[in-house]
């Protein structure tokens, strides 16, 4: 039996002015899929990820999250969501991890982690605290729970940001270059957390430059080039000899 489709994206187009960043991207993510999105900078992979939870609004295309289609309409010549309420509800089901962590700087790590469950999902505070503490334990920063983000290293902040996203019990996790802003010695600790998430069966979409993660952790690799999907397949196949010449050239620059 095929796993349930957690996320289905059809024919996404996005332009900034005259510059067409995405030229019709489609993608299905099934339960437990870990999909790495690779590509040179400017290939549109981050924009694509941001279109999924509507931080950017695609000019056309269809997004279905866990069976629910995001209703879009055209107003004043621009594509727009019909209901802000629906967007907020769907965003709550999509965990987003940013390159620059984006923890709320006026809140402690624990407060960051319970903010969404308590105020967006309106769940009982005590319950949320217990769960958040367990998550912080899991990502290895339980002892920092009463510290403010500014007092943590980048790696610790990113792990806290992952815990914050997980606290919402998302259906899909979106990672936007989660290790690109980190010092090299801190990358490992974040990748370890992501790897254990993948092993637990979390559905993940990861925009990354970490070839080892793409190759060893994800079960599918998508290589984007000029706003289109250039290569798409299992990592062993693409990193073997299945990738296009452009993909071969791309991974060549990483020395692998």
């Amino acid at each position: 039996m095929a796993a349930a489709t957690r996320l289905s994206v059809r024919n996404i187009h996005k332009s900034f002015g005259a510059h067409e960043v995405l030229r019709g991207i489609s993608l299905d993510a099934h339960d437990g899929d870990v999909i790495s999105l690779l590509g040179a900078s400017g290939s549109g992979k981050s924009t694509f990820l941001r279109c999924i939870n509507l931080l950017e609004t695609a000019d056309q295309g269809e997004i279905v999250v866990d069976g629910e289609r995001i209703e879009m309409t055209v107003r004043n010549g621009r594509n727009m969501p019909v209901s802000r309420k629906q967007i907020d509800r769907i965003r709550a089901e999509l965990g987003m991890v940013f390159q620059s962590f984006n923890l709320w700087s006026h809140m402690t790590i624990l407060d960051n982690a319970i903010e969404g469950p308590v105020h967006v999902l309106k769940r009982p505070r005590a319950e949320c605290i217990a769960e958040a503490e367990a998550l912080l334990e899991k990502v290895g920063i339980a002892e920092k729970r009463h510290a403010y983000p500014a007092h943590l290293s980048g790696g610790q902040q990113q792990r806290a940001a992952i815990a914050r996203a997980l606290a919402m019990k998302p259906k899909v996790m979106l990672f936007d270059e989660p290790t690109s802003a980190l010092d090299p010695e801190l990358v490992g600790e974040v990748l370890r957390v992501m790897r254990s998430l993948a092993e637990e069966g979390m559905t993940m979409l990861v925009v990354t430059h970490e070839m080892s993660f793409a190759r060893n952790v994800s079960n599918r690799v998508i290589f984007m080039r000029s706003g289109e999907i250039d290569s798409d397949g299992a990592p062993e196949e693409l990193f073997g000899k299945g990738g296009s010449p452009a993909f071969r050239q791309f991974i060549g620059t990483f020395g692998s």
Partner: protein, 240 residues
């Protein structure tokens, strides 16, 4: 001994009146600051609006109230307000001059002015919030109201605190101009005391000292509030 008697709290002493006057100055300024906080927040929101017309309206407000002398605004509010009140009085059959209560006129005038300054403080504070934190709030599913209440407002207050301290100090001094309407504030009372005792030097120095007491006390208050608010800042930033 003469001085003690003149400034004391006895029958012929001005001490009680001066203290009341200092309290009046404090009350006018506090009311003005609150009026200004509401106006400032609205005008800051207007200046950050996506609509060009609303942005312009916000700009016009700050241009006027920062660009016209405080004294003129006070006259405008007091006499303008009074003639409006007189007109309403005439409508109900009372003909004669009705003055706007001087406390209300003063607080409103200083509030209009400090609202313009506060608007700039809030706008700057909003722009100081890292954009990514607002995106993270959107991404987790917060609606507009929740984002404002949980993420924007607390951070705006934190970043605005030093600026608000500054506006408070300016308003405290601006409130002295309200004395022209006859409100018995610290300035006015010092003047009256100086005039009736002919001890100009003494009373203006005492008045000045009382202003200094008010400003330095509020300075301390703001400093400790800033220390509290900057707990989440990296060590060294915001803690001077």
């Amino acid at each position: 001994m003469q001085i003690v008697e003149t400034l004391g709290f006895g029958q012929t002493g001005w001490g009680g009146l001066l203290l009341m006057a200092a309290l009046m100055t404090l009350c006018v300024t506090l009311t003005a600051l609150l009026i200004g906080a509401v106006l400032g927040a609205v005008v800051a929101a207007a200046k950050l609006s996506q609509s060009r017309a609303i942005r312009t309206a916000g700009g016009v407000y700050t241009t006027i109230f920062r660009g016209v002398p405080e004294l003129l605004i006070i006259y405008l509010v007091y006499f303008g307000g009074s003639s409006a009140v007189t007109m309403i009085g005439a409508y109900f059959g009372y003909d004669g001059f009705l003055g706007l209560p001087t406390f209300i006129a003063g607080a409103l005038a200083v509030g209009l002015i400090c609202g313009a300054y506060q608007a700039e403080v809030y706008r700057g504070a909003f722009l100081a919030i890292p954009r990514g934190e607002l995106e993270a709030a959107e991404a987790i599913g917060m609606n507009r109201l929740l984002r404002f209440r949980r993420i924007i407002a607390p951070q705006v207050l934190r970043f605005a605190l030093p600026g608000i301290g500054n506006v408070w100090q300016l308003s405290l001094k601006d409130s002295a101009l309200v004395s022209v309407t006859g409100l018995a504030d610290l300035m006015r009372t010092s003047q009256v005391a100086a005039g009736s005792t002919r001890q100009y030097f003494l009373f203006f120095i005492v008045g000045g000292c009382l202003y200094l007491v008010l400003t330095s006390m509020s300075d301390r208050l703001f400093a400790s509030a800033e220390r509290r608010a900057s707990r989440s800042m990296p060590a060294g930033i915001g803690q001077i």
